[in-house]
């Protein structure tokens, strides 16, 4: 469920939306920028998206941009474009809050008003219906929730993830620190912001500090603040991260990197609830929900003496939450991929590509959907489908994903980008409304530095599927690496022989084996 603020001087949408899209909570309507600003402040960052009308038939004094002495015609224009003026001021206070502007673009000077930007979508409400609006809301909310790691909070149906979700919701409300453990890319910072902070009920800011990127001699000043002259180069008083997060949440990523001094000072803050800037005597009370994350074994660091035992105990390690790696989340694989595809498709630069593709096939697409798995998707009016067939999904599933969710998210976005780019200008087939992401594209995207010639050795991934006999498994593997090698070496059998036999004169032997495997040079040449 998302919390959506409706900014509209009329009641039409306020009455319609809760009935038509009951899965989301609609607030408002705010009938002017003043009311919208008040509601945004009251809700303290809990608004996921704003739905904004453009024409506001409201008193002059409530109009953004109104000046005494304005000509009646200028006031009328201001009313007609008021939503875009609201958008401009909204962006100053909430630069990354997604906004759907309910208007057709015709007759609007959007560029002059600076309304063309990321996080803003214009929907022509002349054609709007519940399905279109729901899809747009879901895509924008999903993209917003995932932006911290270029992935998303995707809980899935697995019992472990559901337990983790409940546990975090409970820990978020408590006063004690929260420890997030897990491999890189599993979404620790995302959960800190969008789950712990969001559900803490705290009105202050969310402040994130990556301790892996802070020089150890500046760490204490960055976290706790400093007064002028406290250290070389300290030219003025500065507030630290703890003070900035007062009333809110402080997220310390890679907490194992805390310097010895900073560990001591952090312990003091946790014990006494006060922070003292470097070089200062004054204690400043702070009320901060602390979330720390690491992919190190902190208990082992305590045993070896590089992390303070008393600080470790203060961090509340008994309730530490461990995030699973991506390969442990196979249960929801297809839905997770579908979710990430929809997220990627909401990105503005991909929207432009989709528009280009639509013009090429003479189909103006209004909706974009992901279809993940076997079977062709149903044809729907004005809907473009990005299809990840089963074979492509298998390729994704068999990848080791050392970068976890972050890596998968990037690969999916790249797959969408390349599939759409390659489809532009190509003669459309029977289903121009479907763009298929082929396994070969994933092969290219996933090859990465793990494959190729490295230090005189050839590294190559092959995909193993069950066969009737071991001999068939061996043939399937050999066939795959012969194809990869042929494509990599652009059909040069001498070079292939050099890599396989250490003898460039052995090209004939390689070609013979090639034929025995039933591989056709003519077919492969077409792929070069």
């Amino acid at each position: 469920m998302a919390d959506i603020l409706l900014v509209d001087d009329q009641d039409r949408f306020a009455q319609l939306l809760p009935r038509a899209i009951p899965e989301h909570r609609f607030l408002g309507p705010a009938r002017s920028w003043g009311q919208a600003r008040d509601l945004l402040r009251q809700e303290r960052g809990r608004i996921d998206l704003v739905l904004l009308d453009v024409h506001f038939d409201i008193p002059e004094a409530d109009l953004v941009g109104f000046q005494e002495g304005m000509a009646p015609k200028a006031v009328e224009r201001l009313r007609r474009e008021q939503g875009l003026h609201i958008l401009t001021v909204l962006r100053r206070e909430h630069p990354d809050l997604p906004v759907i502007v309910l208007t057709s673009r015709e007759g609007m000077d959007l560029q002059r008003l600076g309304a063309e930007e990321e996080y803003t979508t214009f929907l022509d409400d002349d054609d709007l219906d519940a399905q279109v609006l729901r899809a747009q809301i879901d895509a924008m909310v999903a993209a917003r929730r995932g932006e911290e790691i270029d992935g998303a909070v995707f809980w899935g149906t697995g019992l472990a993830m559901q337990r983790l979700r409940q546990r975090l919701a409970i820990l978020a409300r408590g006063r004690l620190p929260v420890v997030l453990l897990g491999p890189t890319g599993t979404g620790k910072s995302l959960l800190a912001r969008h789950v712990v902070h969001a559900r803490s009920g705290r009105g202050g800011r969310f402040v994130a500090v990556d301790l892996a990127t802070l020089p150890s001699d500046l760490m204490a000043a960055h976290l706790f603040g400093a007064v002028r002259g406290a250290y070389t180069g300290s030219v003025g008083d500065r507030e630290g991260a703890f003070e900035a997060a007062d009333g809110g949440t402080l997220f310390l990523d890679e907490v194992g990197n805390l310097s010895a001094d900073a560990q001591k000072m952090l312990l003091s803050v946790l014990q006494d609830g006060v922070v003292t800037r470097l070089g200062d005597l004054r204690e400043r009370p702070v009320d901060v929900k602390l979330v720390v994350a690491t992919n190190e074994d902190l208990a082992a660091r305590v045993r070896e003496g590089s992390f303070r035992a008393d600080l470790y105990m203060r961090l509340n390690p008994a309730t530490a939450v461990t995030l699973p790696s991506l390969v442990e989340r196979q249960l929801d694989w297809n839905r997770l991929v579908g979710f990430l595809v929809e997220q990627a498709l909401a990105r503005p630069y991909l929207r432009d590509l989709i528009d280009d593709y639509g013009r090429g096939v003479d189909l103006p697409f209004r909706r974009i959907q992901a279809h993940v798995g076997s079977g062709m998707p149903e044809r729907r009016p004005r809907t473009l489908v990005l299809h990840f067939p089963e074979r492509t999904l298998r390729r994704l599933r068999h990848h080791p994903w050392p970068g976890n969710l972050r890596e998968l998210s990037m690969v999916v976005e790249n797959a969408a980008l390349f599939a759409l780019s390659e489809a532009i200008g190509v003669e459309a087939g029977e289903r121009p409304d479907v763009v298929v992401v082929r396994k070969k594209l994933l092969d290219d995207l996933l090859r990465g530095p793990g494959e190729g010639v490295e230090g005189g050795h050839l590294r190559m991934e092959v995909e193993i599927e069950p066969q009737e006999t071991l001999n068939r498994v061996a043939v399937a593997c050999e066939t795959q690496y012969f194809i990869k090698l042929y494509l990599q070496e652009r059909g040069d059998f001498a070079r292939m022989a050099e890599l396989l036999l250490g003898d460039p004169e052995g090209g004939r032997k390689v070609q013979l084996r090639f034929n025995q495997l039933g591989l056709k040079v003519r077919d492969l040449k077409a792929q070069l």
Partner: protein, 159 residues
């Protein structure tokens, strides 16, 4: 007078008026109808038609039906009011695109009273059809009134 006989400034004023008409009237007379599920019962259909046509504008200032919202636009189209404040007054009733808007508004107007009555079920389909006709007429007027693109690139003015 027809649209093609208008001076460029009046043509532009008319186009802006048509955009406002489409915004204020055209899209809202079919809003709830478009959001109805395919299997909506007659009660829901009547409620949607009444919301669209009897409460076309609704906010803190009160409610106005489609005729009341369309009235100032109709007055400007038939020469009873200026196309814009201080602008020219022209009677465009004989233009085909304007005539269709006027006819569609009149048809909606005829249906408002029966739609408000208890026997509204008899006219709800007609009301939906009239609302769609008005929406399409507004769109057609926007398209017809759009000022022509300059044929010579040198005519384009870059401020």
């Amino acid at each position: 007078m027809t649209l093609d006989e208008l001076e460029p400034a009046s043509r532009l004023a008319l186009h802006e008026l048509a955009l406002r008409l489409q915004h204020d009237v055209g899209k809202y007379v079919t809003l709830q109808a478009r959001w109805l599920p395919a299997d909506a019962d007659v009660g829901a259909r009547i409620e949607a038609a009444r919301a669209d046509l009897l409460r076309t504008a609704r906010g803190p200032a009160g409610e106005r039906d489609a005729m009341a919202v369309a009235e100032p636009f109709v007055a400007a189209l038939v020469g009873e009011a200026a196309l814009e404040e201080g602008g020219s007054v022209v009677d465009l009733a004989e233009d085909p695109a304007v005539a269709e808007v006027l006819a569609a508004v009149a048809e909606v107007g005829r249906l408002l009273a029966p739609l408000a009555e208890p026997g509204a079920a008899d006219v709800v389909d007609d009301a939906f059809a009239a609302a769609r006709r008005l929406r399409e007429a507004c769109r057609a007027l926007v398209a017809a009134s759009r000022p022509p693109e300059p044929s010579d690139p040198d005519d384009v003015f870059f401020p």
